[in-house]
């Protein structure tokens, strides 16, 4: 069972967390239909370091994790809006 390092609570069993999808910017309100369909339905599925939303259920805390999908290593976690504050994995 993996350990995920929560920026608020420290290292915890991954079962304490819920995955919330990839971090992505919403298209502009008037962007074309295709851009919206892409945003809602499609994921890049990259073999790379991706940014994801995770929530610590017991504290209701949402944060961002950077994970290498090739090794499943979580490289760092941080509060949204604060990428310069590092929480090491």
């Amino acid at each position: 069972m993996k350990i995920l390092n929560c920026p608020l609570n420290g290292p915890r069993n991954i079962q304490e967390f819920v995955y919330g999808g990839p971090v992505q910017d919403m298209p502009a309100v008037d962007a074309p239909d295709a851009a919206w369909a892409d945003y809602v339905f499609l994921e890049d599925n990259a073999a790379a370091v991706v940014r994801e939303w995770w929530m610590h259920v017991a504290s209701g805390y949402w944060f961002i994790a950077e994970r290498d999908t090739r090794t499943d290593d979580i490289l760092r976690t941080y509060a949204p809006g604060a990428p310069e504050r590092t929480g090491d994995a």
Binding site: M1, D33, W36, A37, V40, W53, W62, P80, G81
Partner: protein, 963 residues
């Protein structure tokens, strides 16, 4: 018990305590500490089981719980390993998988038709001619499987525990104990895990050199060192590590408990598993591993036979012979597969004692006694047969054959951790490499066979795990010790030779599988089932790989076995389930519902009353009538409630819900509809403006946690100035509904004007109800005058009591979820998740009115617009059926337009108020006008015609609810 030996044999026995149990109905006596197998062996009973396919007699093989030849049945548990399970008073043990008795199993005949049952025969049989499976299925089910489950057994107490260690050491043999001691000396907190009841591993039973006591000396010395650091070591015996997971989480099962142990560093000292030889009838009781015979002697004080032959390629076999002889067993011969033995003090001692030693011979076949249940002798042939057409056979009578032809590292946990377990031709065995940095291997697992080297390596590994650096000492050259035979397989003998005992597979079966094209180890495993039995290939993968490489010409160097996955040893489902925590939420009025005779149902993770009374369908009708005609109470504490506060609260609501809340006055509630990004309706409720910057929003019971989570996630992105607080459990809430509701509630209220003018439909306010602080809303889900009262949860029961008392003169009665569903359907209100599905967008459900037209954005807006541009494909309508309709369609019955399916029924009930069946259904947009027919395919495929009706069915002018 004539086979028992006096001390110092019998390390695990408590001879002061006799235990009486039975086997196959026969009373047996043993000692406390005996396993079933050892107690039976002491009583000269060696037949323990019948094999899976051919029902061949089987008995002790490893005496360590590594094989499955000892599976027996207990009254409340099948498939118990007799060589591990300790006897207890009154235990009734029987064999499994036989017809008649264990001794004369009617199933034995199947071996006679073995040639019609080649490997994988079942892939091609039992399906032609059509219908033949019906004949065979019952018979196969009756014969298949091993033990029997006793369905009358009540659940046992299982549980789980989390534990933590700086260094976890798996295996308490010489290397493991040494590692644990050194890690503790370096100041680390250590957990030492051992499958057997005592520490020491092979030191307790192996003969490591000519002097018999050497192993025991070493064990004693380690025990002293261990005692010196015992405050830093937690020792778990009778504990099996079944899996090694991400970030060093170890699963350890012990008794009825599963321990989830998180370790910073892991030392694997799990040792090695002795491997069998393959020759005709190598599965007879009386044929066992050399280490099994030594375990019987040293741990259980049982003489394993009277006349023994030892077949070997290493010094261990000679050590076995020495042990046997000293225990009074006649060593008839030591059969050494090698032409010349490597130098070893045990070999020299055997030679000096003049044991009969046959160099360069091998076992050709084993011969059973007259009853067919036990070994009576072996035939030997020269090991190098070359071009001998008929090799000269030598026969030796014996009742015990010990195999000491090699070892395989017990590498399951290393494999779980991602190590490379590959075959090494210089060692004739698998080796473990590429372990992750925090996991270390030592002892026999790491290929270190010499005991002194294993202890030294264990010490170094313990220090490394504790954080010091430096390479461990180089191990003794394995090739020089000639520990394992390269190919201990002889096929010249007459009779079945077994590669896999669990699955009754012979070398011919392996070759036939390869000939069919399954020539990769993973394919070979799946087609032939080699390694898929209870022992999971522990004693078969090595020989199977050797056979595969010989047959296909593939190089065996660096070949791997099949992928090894947890669990490494059997786990019970009870251990995995533990206490089975299943949180349930109850409202503060829960006991009042039970006292009033409610039948409860699960809604989300809450319990809610379905209705009150023994006949819930009748109760629902009566309760609905009471609300329409008078007044009723329903506990709605389970509905979600979220407090949104802050300067950006309106902006937040506008982005998340479909309506526009900008102009909503303080003191008013407004319908709240939430969609997801695909435009699908997700949840609904009421948004009450308590103050300029404060909204209290309700949500459905099942979705409130999801709505809260979603709000938090959106605001983590938007970062608006709004605080989101989940108040669901903090408030108890009651909905009082019916024409008399104002008369009941009014007198209880202080600080509020409940008149029609003072508190109109959708008004919201705060007041004191029966002396308790409350939020009151005038809402209408059921279509009558009604109020929802929210109080802090601690007051819930008192509020319910106050309303019940105040309502008594008006015949107020509690109503449950079922009555509420009838009432809301009469009023045409949808239930999200019942009348909507995973694709329903607001316009399909007739809720276009709930969409704020001037908002530039809300979650799902674009998706709704895109779908609407394509046009509606279906719409939700109300419908009625004639009152005399005898059989009603049910939810999810389909709606047809001609031959085409255009929708389905979502809700239906016989309305007590309207006197006829009413419902909601999806249908084609051009069939949605009130008055049009609607065709439903009901039960038994019969078509039922209804009429589309305008919603609501009841009180279309809203006089009752909003007046």
């Amino acid at each position: 018990m004539t086979a028992r030996l006096a001390p110092p044999y019998g390390l695990l026995l408590d001879r002061d305590r006799s235990i009486r149990f039975s086997f196959e109905g026969q009373p047996i006596e043993g000692y406390a500490g005996d396993t079933i197998a050892s107690a039976l062996a002491a009583n000269d009973i060696w037949l323990l089981s019948r094999s899976f396919k051919y029902h061949r007699p089987r008995g002790i093989l490893s005496m360590a719980g590594d094989d499955a030849n000892t599976l027996v049945q207990l009254p409340d548990e099948p498939n118990v390993l007799a060589d591990l399970h300790r006897i207890s008073d009154g235990l009734a043990v029987t064999g499994q998988h036989y017809t008649g008795s264990l001794r004369s199993d009617g199933g034995q005949w199947i071996e006679r038709i073995a040639k019609f049952l080649p490997v994988g025969f079942y892939y091609r049989a039992f399906h032609k001619p059509r219908g033949i499976w019906d004949f065979w299925e019952k018979r196969i089910r009756a014969r298949a499987g091993l033990g029997t489950v006793n369905e009358a057994v009540r659940g046992r107490y299982y549980d789980k525990e989390y534990a933590f260690a700086e260094v976890a050491v798996v295996g308490a043999g010489a290397a493991g104990v040494a590692a644990a001691i050194e890690a503790a000396r370096a100041g680390r907190q250590v957990v030492l895990i051992e499958r057997q009841p005592i520490l020491g591993g092979a030191l307790n039973h192996a003969r490591v050199d000519a002097r018999a006591t050497r192993g025991v000396d070493l064990a004693g010395a380690l025990a002293e060192d261990l005692a010196a650091v015992e405050d830093r070591i937690t020792i778990l015996t009778d504990a099996t590590c079944t899996g090694l997971f991400d970030d060093n989480l170890l699963a350890v099962v012990t008794g009825n408990r599963l321990i989830k142990l998180r370790a910073e560093q892991v030392v694997l000292a799990t040792g090695a598993i002795e491997q069998p030889m393959v020759f005709a009838n190598n599965d007879l009781p009386g044929i066992m591993m050399g280490s099994a015979a030594q375990r019987l002697l040293w741990l259980y004080a049982v003489r394993p036979g009277r006349h023994a032959v030892v077949v070997t390629v290493n010094g261990d076999g000679y050590g076995v012979a020495l042990d046997l002889a000293e225990a009074g067993v006649t060593v008839q011969a030591i059969v050494d597969l090698r032409t010349a033995a490597a130098p070893d003090s045990r070999v020299e001692e055997a030679v000096s004692r003049r044991y009969p030693i046959l160099q360069g011979f091998t076992v050709d076949r084993a011969i059973a006694n007259a009853g067919g249940h036990h070994l009576a002798g072996v035939d030997l042939v020269p090991a190098e047969k070359d071009d001998m057409a008929t090799p000269a056979r030598r026969h030796i009578a014996c009742d015990l054959l010990c195999m000491a032809v090699g070892w395989a590292p017990a590498a399951s946990l290393a494999a779980h951790a991602g190590a490379a377990v590959t075959y090494d031709e210089t060692a004739n065995s698998f080796t473990v490499a590429d372990l992750p940095p925090t996991i270390h291997a030592t002892g026999a697992l790491a290929g270190i066979w010499n005991t002194d080297d294993a202890i030294a390596h264990g010490r170094h590994t313990g220090r490394r795990a504790a954080g010091s650096h430096g390479e461990p000492t180089a191990k003794t050259d394995a090739a020089q010790l000639s520990v394992s035979a390269p190919f201990p397989c002889s096929e010249t003998g007459d009779g079945k030779a077994f590669v896999d005992f669990d699955e009754d597979l012979t070398p011919e079966d392996i070759r036939n599988s390869i000939a069919e094209g399954f020539d990769h180890i993973e394919l070979l495993k799946r087609f032939s089932t080699v390694g898929m039995g209870p022992s999971q290939g522990r004693q078969s993968v090595t020989n199977a790989l050797r056979l595969l490489c010989r047959e296909t010409g593939q190089a065996i160097q660096e070949s791997q076995g099949w992928t090894n996955r947890p669990p490494a040893f059997p786990e019970k489902i009870g251990q995995l389930a533990g206490r089975g925590f299943d949180p349930v939420r109850k409202t503060p009025m829960h006991d009042r519902h039970l006292e009033a005779g409610a039948g409860m149902m699960v809604a989300g993770n809450w319990l809610r009353p379905v209705g009150y009374g023994s006949n819930l369908s009748e109760a629902a009708i009566a309760e609905a009538r009471a609300v329409r005609n008078g007044v009723g109470l329903i506990d709605v504490s389970t509905l979600g409630g979220i407090d949104l506060r802050g300067p950006d609260v309106v902006e937040f609501l506008n982005r998340l819900y479909t309506m526009d809340y900008t102009k909503q006055p303080v003191g008013r509630g407004r319908y709240a509809l939430m969609c997801d990004m695909t435009g699908t309706v997700m949840d609904d409720g009421v948004a009450c403006r308590m103050a300029q910057d404060h909204f209290y929003v309700t949500a459905t019971t099942g979705n409130s946690d999801g709505v809260y989570r979603s709000m938090l996630q959106w605001n983590a992105q938007w970062r608006l100035e709004v605080d989101i607080a989940n108040m669901t459990g903090a408030f108890a809430a009651v909905n009082i509904a019916g024409p008399q509701s104002r008369k009941v509630l009014g007198p209880l209220c202080e600080g509020i004007d409940l008149s029609a003018a003072g508190f109109p439909y959708m008004a919201v306010g705060e007041a004191s109800v029966a002396g308790m602080p409350a939020r009151i809303m005038r809402v209408g889900f059921v279509g009558e005058l009604g109020y929802e009262i929210h109080v802090p949860a601690g007051y819930g029961e008192a509020l319910w009591d106050a309303l019940t008392d105040a309502g008594r003169p008006y015949h107020c009665r509690p109503f449950g979820v079922e009555a509420q569903r009838i009432l809301r359907l009469e009023k045409g209100h949808i239930i999200i998740g019942q009348d909507t599905d995973g694709l329903t967008h607001p316009h399909e459900a007739g809720m276009g009115w709930a969409i704020g037209k001037r908002k530039p954005f809300f979650v799902g807006k674009r998706a709704i617009d895109i779908q609407m541009a394509r046009g509606l494909e279906r719409v939700l309508v109300g419908f009625t059926l004639p009152p005399q309709t005898a059989v009603l369609p049910e939810e999810c019955h389909l709606v047809f337009k001609g031959e085409d399916i255009v929708g389905r029924v979502t809700s239906i009930v016989r309305s007590p108020t309207l006197g006829q069946p009413i419902g909601m259904a999806y249908t084609a947009p051009d069939r949605a006008e009130p008055g049009m027919p609607i065709l439903i395919k009901g039960p038994m495929g019969r078509y039922i015609q209804g009429t589309v009706a305008a919603l609501p069915f009841y009180d279309p002018e809203n006089r009752r609810q909003a007046g």
